[in-house]
Subunit: 306 residues, 2 copies
């Protein structure tokens, strides 16, 4: 029996690490958003896969959540002097991973195989599965036109107003065949951004149906606590999309898929409203500052649904 | 009026720097071997162009002649830990140049335009012209089969026996149209490896004829002094190709093109034999240890032919 955890980058990876500390490698599989992926300098950058990889390998930068701890920036410094593009910060050690991935691609591997090789090289034993090996590219519709996700997210610091998100290529992307839908005990939707981290995963044809057919509990953890995003632009996006930035709205967003929902202690008064939607609810502390917080939340989520 | 200098990497770049100190940017143009170029991690590496660029920018590593001074190796160190290919040593700051070149290629530039942009970014005012923007790839025939040049030269440290050199793609490569053949005062063949640095340049269709049609002196400086290569595997290659590793044999190699030949002081007794081939000769100190040596030799070569 297996728990499947759907996750994006920094926010979701916190709970992912907690889950990996609680469940053995044969009990837990991660399905990761690749809608943020892009080509930069001819290299394939997979920000969410990379963040999860670094997090599980415990080499992630604790200050940012992305990139590596103990990083140096000599390539970027020189690139800047050469007039190159430096808006996407690639540390020297991080860059090595992208170069290695490029070699693995050149050897004929897809993203799943390359991710496994890189994770293995970093000592990770849990399986990290990109949602698809085919390109799905999140596009942000703004009043000024469409932006590639990393241009919106990193280069433009989420400043443009987000009118809608589209997942270019999703309609023809093949669901990662390595995802073990057959023996699922539970699905955990990590506290990632619902619109740009989890929705791209769910946009892969067959994903929703396969998750629902599993017939197991599907539990979501809200990335919105007390009306604000724990991390990143989720609350700003929700306001721009015309919905209140509340845990109740996150619950509604997942209503067609989730069966269970974790409400943060801060939002305890919203529990009844979430339950009224037809979701099983529990209360937990979902803001994870320490490793203990991650493990404690992982245990609470699993106790809730298993 | 212009002097054209044909050069490969480290050995030739020494004289190239001397020439650049003596002649103004409108008096001197470099035509550089690209037979060593290869794709690595999806990046275009142009070792001879890069070495000349770093040399003229005076950021080259004085210990090796290639790469940058004041370099760090964090990318390579991490790549090694990830099981990646590290036989071709790419320093962190060097790598930035290759990333930048890739962006320039992605913008639609060819190697000539990208080289100019990178040189400009490093403050170089002399023109560095790749022999062609089209791919020419030196292949080394060995008893074990053909090797791509960098595999032979760097990965295998020139250990395989070289039976012959081939320049794949040369027959369809277009001569760099930016080379100013019209107003040449002299052509200098720098003391680069005749077989793998200068011959690829001469293999581009039209190059030999254009140089000869210029009707100006063509002066070669031997990379073999006292029966040994000043730098690199030239002497070993000559032995394997069945010719003596002497300055006389280098002169014979260039006989169909050169009009003038610089004999090192150490090889003064070969001067008559070189002259007997029909070449104008002079004696100079061609081993360049210091910047002054480079400038002195540049002045001597120019005084010889101008």
């Amino acid at each position: 029996m297996t728990v499947l955890a759907l996750t994006g980058g920094v926010g979701g990876a916190k709970l992912a690490l907690g889950l990996a500390r609680v469940l053995a490698p044969d009990q837990l599989v991660f399905v990761v958003n690749t809608g943020d992926d892009f080509e930069h300098f001819g290299l394939h950058i997979s920000p969410d896969v990379d963040t999860l990889t670094y997090t599980l390998a415990e080499v992630a930068n604790p200050a940012t959540g992305w990139g590596r701890a103990d990083e140096s920036w000599h390539v970027m410094e020189t690139l800047q002097r050469l007039g190159g593009e430096t808006w996407f910060r690639l540390g020297d050690r991080d860059l090595a991973l992208h170069l290695r991935r490029r070699s693995l691609f050149d050897q004929g591997m897809g993203l799943t195989a390359a991710t496994a090789a890189l994770a293995n090289g970093l000592g990770i034993r849990h399986r990290i599965l990109p949602m698809s090996d085919d390109p799905v590219r999140t596009q942000v519709q703004t009043p000024q036109g469409a932006l590639a996700f990393q241009h919106y997210f990193v280069r433009d610091r989420c400043e443009p107003t987000a009118l809608a998100f589209e997942f270019a290529g999703a309609e023809s992307a093949k669901l990662n065949p390595a995802i073990p839908f057959d023996a699922l005990q539970a699905v955990v939707i990590c506290p990632s951004n619902p619109y740009v981290s989890v929705d791209p995963i769910l946009a892969v044809p067959g994903m929703r149906a396969a998750l629902q057919s599993a017939g197991c509990p599907i539990v979501a953890v809200s990335p919105i606590v007390g009306g604000a995003a724990i991390k990143g632009p989720t609350a700003k996006m929700m306001r721009e999309l015309g919905v209140h930035a509340t845990t109740l709205e996150v619950a509604k967003h997942y209503l067609s898929l989730a069966t269970h929902f974790v409400v943060d202690e801060v939002d305890a008064r919203s529990r009844d409203a979430v339950a009224a939607l037809g979701l099983e609810t529990t209360i937990a502390q979902t803001v994870m500052r320490t490793l203990d917080d991650r493990i404690t939340l992982a245990r609470a989520v699993l106790a809730f649904v298993l």
